[in-house]
């Protein structure tokens, strides 16, 4: 009998189909809704400082999201995307990494950025695309990136970072680094061909990458039930020969522990691993979307009770690591700080005109230089039409 290399060859003599849900992947949950641990479960090893840093990052993102969505509504920035309901998935996973591990994100993972140390000012400069933005004001708001903290610049095309993460991790392995790459994507992006390509390549080429899927129930208006029929995303990994785990994405301790173990596995076995975090996208897809057109308020309210921050907060209080009064004061101060940073970033000028042609190539081509010169002459002729650049062309 033929032996296509890794296929299991067990002969039967009656036709047998394997059921679509033959593989049922359970969901790891450590924290109960009231902040206590499930019976008989021991919490992950998490020191007080790390635990509080996770909490602070989650609160920071919630308040930033609240303020910046309002800023978009006021027309002060062009676009925004919240992380509401997914703060635990994106912060606790980043907390389980080494700070030199590369993160490649989709766009709803600002929590990971914050945990890594992306500053309030850096967030604001990107959102206002001013001249201090690390990305030089070229991309839409929320497309963050920061070399110093190993967070790859985000791009809009969905799923493209998945095979890239496989390649990045392969390069880390080849260079003998003891670091991994964590790649975030949503359950909608997992329908892209790049998901298939990236997972299969990582599996075959033994790249130590962590695929982290945020399954939040919706891709814009499309419910997950119209995205796939199988048992979520985790089961697919198994088909590629990749180990997988599913976690409650609103449970900080479960996400932390699953990611910590995934990282250990990826590095020790030098192979990919997949984590699927089940949560709910509580906010709209983006500032350009209104979810009332495709889902009920009752459904949203049901999930609102699963607030990842509230649940984790109760655990911290039970540990005696959080003081309610001090926490309230800190939140109020942070709100004020965010507002001040917003106002400051808003005042910083846009990038200079020369940045239009730099970085297309390592060095601007002669053709690009002459296009820039022609543009400058045109702006000199019609300065009123180009107030951002006129008056500072040289």
């Amino acid at each position: 009998m033929a032996d296509p290399s890794n296929a299991t060859i067990t002969t039967v003599h009656q036709a047998q189909f394997t059921g679509a849900h033959a593989l049922h992947i359970p969901t790891l949950r450590i924290l109960q809704d009231d902040g206590s641990l499930h019976a008989g479960v021991s919490p992950p090893v998490l020191d007080r400082d790390t635990a509080l840093k996770i909490y602070d990052s989650m609160v920071f993102i919630r308040l930033l999201d609240e303020r910046m969505l309002a800023a978009q509504r006021q027309g002060r920035i062009s676009f925004y995307m919240q992380c509401l309901g997914e703060e635990a998935s994106t912060v606790a996973s980043a907390a389980a990494l080494d700070r030199h591990d590369m993160i490649m994100a989709q766009y709803r993972e600002q929590g990971a950025l914050r945990y890594r140390g992306f500053t309030l000012t850096q967030f604001m400069n990107q959102l206002f695309s001013n001249e201090r933005d690390l990305g030089k004001g070229r991309q839409m708001p929320v497309h963050y990136g920061c070399r110093d903290i190993h967070f790859m610049t985000i791009s809009s095309p969905l799923g493209t970072q998945i095979p890239q993460a496989s390649g990045y991790a392969y390069a880390q392995k080849l260079r003998g680094e003891s670091n991994t790459t964590l790649c975030y994507f949503g359950e909608g992006a997992a329908s892209e061909g790049d998901f298939h390509a990236g997972l299969n390549m990582a599996a075959v080429l033994q790249a130590p990458v962590i695929f982290f899927c945020r399954n939040n129930g919706y891709a814009i208006s499309t419910p997950a039930s119209e995205q796939f029929i199988g048992d979520g995303i985790a089961c697919r990994a198994v088909g590629y020969g990749i180990q997988a785990i599913r976690v409650d994405g609103a449970d900080v301790l479960a996400v932390y522990e699953a990611t910590r173990l995934a990282r250990k596995l990826a590095l020790e076995q030098q192979e990919p691993v997949l984590v699927e975090a089940i949560a709910y996208r509580l906010g709209a897809h983006s500032s350009s979307d209104d979810p009332s057109g495709y889902r009920s308020r009752e459904e949203e309210e049901g999930w609102r009770k699963q607030d990842p921050i509230a649940r984790y907060r109760l655990w911290l209080l039970q540990q005696g690591w959080l003081d309610e009064a001090a926490d309230q004061i800190a939140s109020d101060a942070l709100r004020q700080e965010i507002l001040e940073a917003l106002k400051a970033a808003e005042q910083i000028p846009k990038p200079r005109l020369d940045t239009l042609i730099s970085d297309v190539y390592a060095e601007p081509t002669p053709g690009l230089r002459s296009q820039l010169e022609a543009l400058k002459n045109h702006i000199r002729q019609y300065p009123d039409a180009y107030p951002v650049s006129a008056g500072r062309l040289d």
């Binding site: 990305g135 610049t153 095979p163 496989s166 390509a197 299969n200 075959v204 297309v360 190539y361 060095e363």
Partner: protein, 325 residues
Amino acid sequence: MAQMNMLQAINNALDLAMSRDENVICFGEDVGHFGGVFRATSQLQDKYGKHRCFNTPLTEQGIIGFANGMAARGLKPVAEIQFADYIYPAFDQLVNETAKFRYRSGNQFNVGGLVLRTPYGGGIAGGHYHSQSPEAYFAHTPGLRLVVPRDPAQAKGLLLAAINCPDPVLFFEPKRLYRAAVGEVDEDYYELPLGVAEVVQAGTDVTVLAWGAQMEVVAKAVALAGQQGISCELIDLRSLLPWDADLVAESVFKTGRLVINHEAPLTGGFAGEVAAAIQQRCFLYLESPIERVCGLDTPYPLALEKEYMADHLKTFEAIVRTVNF
């Protein structure tokens, strides 16, 4: 110096690049132990190990996505797409990712180490999907460099320059010439400049421009024209993006006439860009309309391939029309 065909020259270039720099990694479909369906990567796995020269699963978007990731970490991936006709599944990775990586990150990240090698072009009874010349699709994409060599020595020098270039490069290899083109090739390391065209033969009556496999075709047309007393200046563009408009314009200032030849279909082909740019730069010097001798606006045919091709006779006729205008 040694006699090499184009495949041997490419293999020699890859071998040299890999021996000089451990960051150079070759991969793609059937590239590993087998050495590629055209044998361009022959012996490289034996020499440099499976981690540096390997087969990938059969997924073009995966190959280029993977290459982007490796290049972002500072490696120099030389990825092979088996036929240029199969580059389209990777179009998104190339156009939206590779080309924009440096720009969109404000130069915090880049994939400048990436080189994509792919056999292109017709004349081998390849039908729809083993004959295409897709360069114009990519010429519309700022951030990429496009290079097309015409002979073994050039293939080696340009490929080494591409691997050493801080920008991502798409390297289109004329597969019709893989074994047909044989020449003297320096066995040592050398580079030929990117973005620079080459005057292959000086002339005074008309400028004739082409690249890659069509250089051979066009040279025949130029020889025929020479027999009629027409002096052609023959230019090999070599790099299509960025392209050497200065050198072409200089030539047209002198000759006042231009004929451009490519295998790809006429409409939207790169000749359109060259014609428009030269028309603008050389308007007062042009003595006849710029001629484009290209493939027809059809899919690449099998049985009528000879009729379809922008061959030497069609090019010769265009040269004569231009001179007699």
